[in-house]
């Protein structure tokens, strides 16, 4: 089992390192992700469109508000799941 695990882990690691060669450098301002229209749009429009100064909040609650609804649903699901698993009886 341990050998197999090591094997799998090493393969995964190899894949990660392989991909790492082409990843944009750390802190690179010219990375595709930073230069993408999406990022620039958010930085420019967060305040005028959402009225909040924290861009992450604007993203979280407004542009990607639906993701956050899903995230809250995940939390709720976890709560329900734990109730389902550990509660002896319905109260």
């Amino acid at each position: 089992m341990k050998t197999l695990a090591l094997f799998v882990v090493v393969i995964t690691g190899a894949m990660l390192i392989y991909a790492g060669q082409d990843l944009p450098a750390f802190g690179d301002i010219n990375s595709p992700a930073y230069q993408a229209p999406m990022t620039q749009y958010f930085i420019e429009n967060a305040l005028p469109e959402s009225g909040v100064t924290n861009i992450v909040t604007a993203l979280l609650a407004n542009y990607r508000g639906y993701d956050t609804l899903g995230e809250t649903a995940v939390i709720f699901t976890a709560g329900m799941a734990v109730i389902l698993l550990l509660r002896r009886r319905e109260t």
Partner: protein, 503 residues
């Protein structure tokens, strides 16, 4: 704008939001009266079914529906895109879930006593998760809903057999977490090189950077992640236990839907995020997939023969059937793709019916060992007939749904010049006969020693009705496969493979 039009515009989002809100409110509904949640779930599922049906009809009539959540334009906000593929899968989800929700009344009462309210809450959230995964056009949103569906699935599976269910669920959780993390990593990779999260946008941006190693790594991580999710052969370890030990309702739902949605996601990512020529020719990913699927078909069938627990047998059979779907996709030609997609529908119908039957038998007799099924044909004639029809369908007898997909897959394999896959499909038919026929023999020919006089003792109507409907549909779509094929599958395959000069 009238109220009706208002609702019509927002149907795409309602597909997901209706079960979601219903799921939130279930605890309150259950708090009012403990018997209410079932009716609540039924109602919600019925509404979802109508919506999903409407969505598909709209898509067929007037093309892809786009829905901008929050009113933000696609690359910036999250977008819902309903095209033929996910409209079709959504309808399957909605329908199977509706059937299972009807069925669940008695079964849940017996198998999950005293916890019906949270059970139904989780049930609805599972549907939400599956719907969300299917319908979304944004890869990160996909991940969020993937996690909703996974968490609910863990919880539902753990409600099954004491001990076994929990261990099965835990193993699934570990595997599922690995899968989800891989997918998250893949999403991160794609985001790192494209700077977008929208699937359509990504598909436009990716072709220019296909030589980038990150893209290939992302594809690999996605494939491994989804392979775990669908239980493709070498990564199937969680599946048999999970299916076997879950409560009947959950087994039917998860077996009918979870893996289908996983397969859907695989198809979506392969052909909707990457481009067909990249996955087919540049990387040869489809070819690898086809071989893995062929292996899964054989190994799943062979292992199914070795089982004596009926649910376990069905679980291994699922592994092999998933192979059919992925084989069709992996063949990557028109006919094979049609077969694979058609099998998504077909397998959902058949496997759900079979698991419901196994649940009904367990509900009535407490038996899961198929060698103890003697005399069941006389005791539960309707249930066993449903089993018979669904099983014949799995075998691929013409006139049932199993035949149509098998036909396409075989034809697709011939078209691809892969004769070996034809033999795999035919061999698996034979193996299916072997393991299902043991059950037939025991059901129809047995004389139980212990029960001298067998009385008819069927499961309650709420359990029987969905099984019978599913069995009838198995035959209906076997004979009238023309309709799904003509309206959905054929245009869909063209669209996916980018044949016919579509952009």
């Amino acid at each position: 704008m009238t109220g009706f039009e208002l609702i019509a515009t927002h149907l795409p989002i309602l597909t997901v939001v209706v079960p979601l809100i219903a799921g939130f409110l279930t605890p309150i509904v259950g708090w009012i009266d403990r018997r209410l949640p079932w009716y609540w779930v039924m109602l919600a599922m019925f509404v979802v079914l109508l919506i999903a049906g409407n969505n598909l009809v709209t898509v067929i009539n007037s093309g892809t529906i786009q829905y901008k959540l929050g009113g933000w334009d696609p690359p910036f906000g999250i977008e819902y895109v309903i095209d033929l593929l996910n409209g079709f899968v959504c309808l399957i989800i909605a329908f199977i879930a509706f059937m299972v929700s009807i069925y669940s009344k008695e079964s849940v009462k017996k198998e999950v006593p005293g916890k019906t309210t949270p059970f139904y809450s989780v049930f609805l959230l599972l549907i939400t998760g599956l719907m969300g995964m299917t319908i979304t056009g944004d890869i990160f949103n996909f991940y969020v809903f993937l996690e909703i569906s996974s968490l609910t699935a863990y919880a539902l599976i753990a409600m099954g057999d004491r001990g076994d269910g929990v261990v099965a669920s835990f193993n699934y959780l570990i595997m599922g977490t690995v899968a989800a993390s891989f997918i998250l990593l893949g999403i991160g990779y794609l985001y790192a090189v494209t700077g977008t999260l929208n699937m359509a946008d990504m598909q436009n941006l990716l072709p220019s950077i296909y030589q980038n190693k990150v893209v290939l790594a992302a594809l690999a991580f996605f494939m491994v992640g989804f392979s775990i999710k669908v239980g493709l052969f070498p990564l199937h370890a969680w599946l048999p236990d999970a299916y076997t030990h879950a409560p009947s309702t959950a087994s039917a739902l998860i077996a009918g839907l979870m893996t289908k949605v996983g397969a859907y996601a695989m198809i979506r990512f392969m052909f909707g995020v990457f481009t067909p020529d990249f996955v087919i020719t540049t990387t040869g990913m489809t070819n690898i997939l086809a071989w893995a699927a062929a292996l899964a078909i054989i190994v799943g069938s062979v292992l199914a023969i070795a089982q004596s627990d009926i649910k376990r047998m069905l679980a291994y059979s699922s592994i092999s059937q998933i192979g059919y779907i992925l084989l069709g996709v992996g063949l990557a030609n028109m006919i094979g793709m049609e077969g694979g997609l058609l099998h998504v529908l077909n397998h959902a119908l058949m496997k759900c019916a079979l698991f419901l039957v196994a649940g009904a038998i367990f509900y009535k007799t407490g038996i899961r060992n198929l060698y103890q099924f003697k005399g069941l044909g006389k005791k539960m004639p309707v249930t066993t007939t449903v089993f018979m029809i669904a099983a014949l369908s799995m075998i691929g007898v013409p006139g049932t749904v199993g035949f149509t997909s098998k036909w396409y897959l075989a034809l697709g394999s011939v078209d691809a010049g892969q004769w070996i896959f034809v033999f795999v499909i035919l061999l698996s038919s034979l193996l299916n006969i072997v393991y299902f026929w043991r059950v037939f023999d025991n059901i129809w020919f047995g004389h139980p020693h212990e029960i001298e006089h067998i009385k008819k003792d069927e499961a309650p109507l709420t359990m029987l009705a969905p099984m019978v409907i599913l069995a009838l549909l198995c035959v209906f779509f076997g004979l009238f496969a023309y309709y799904p094929v003509h309206y959905v599958i054929e245009p869909l395959s063209v669209e996916l493979l980018k044949l016919g000069g579509m952009p």
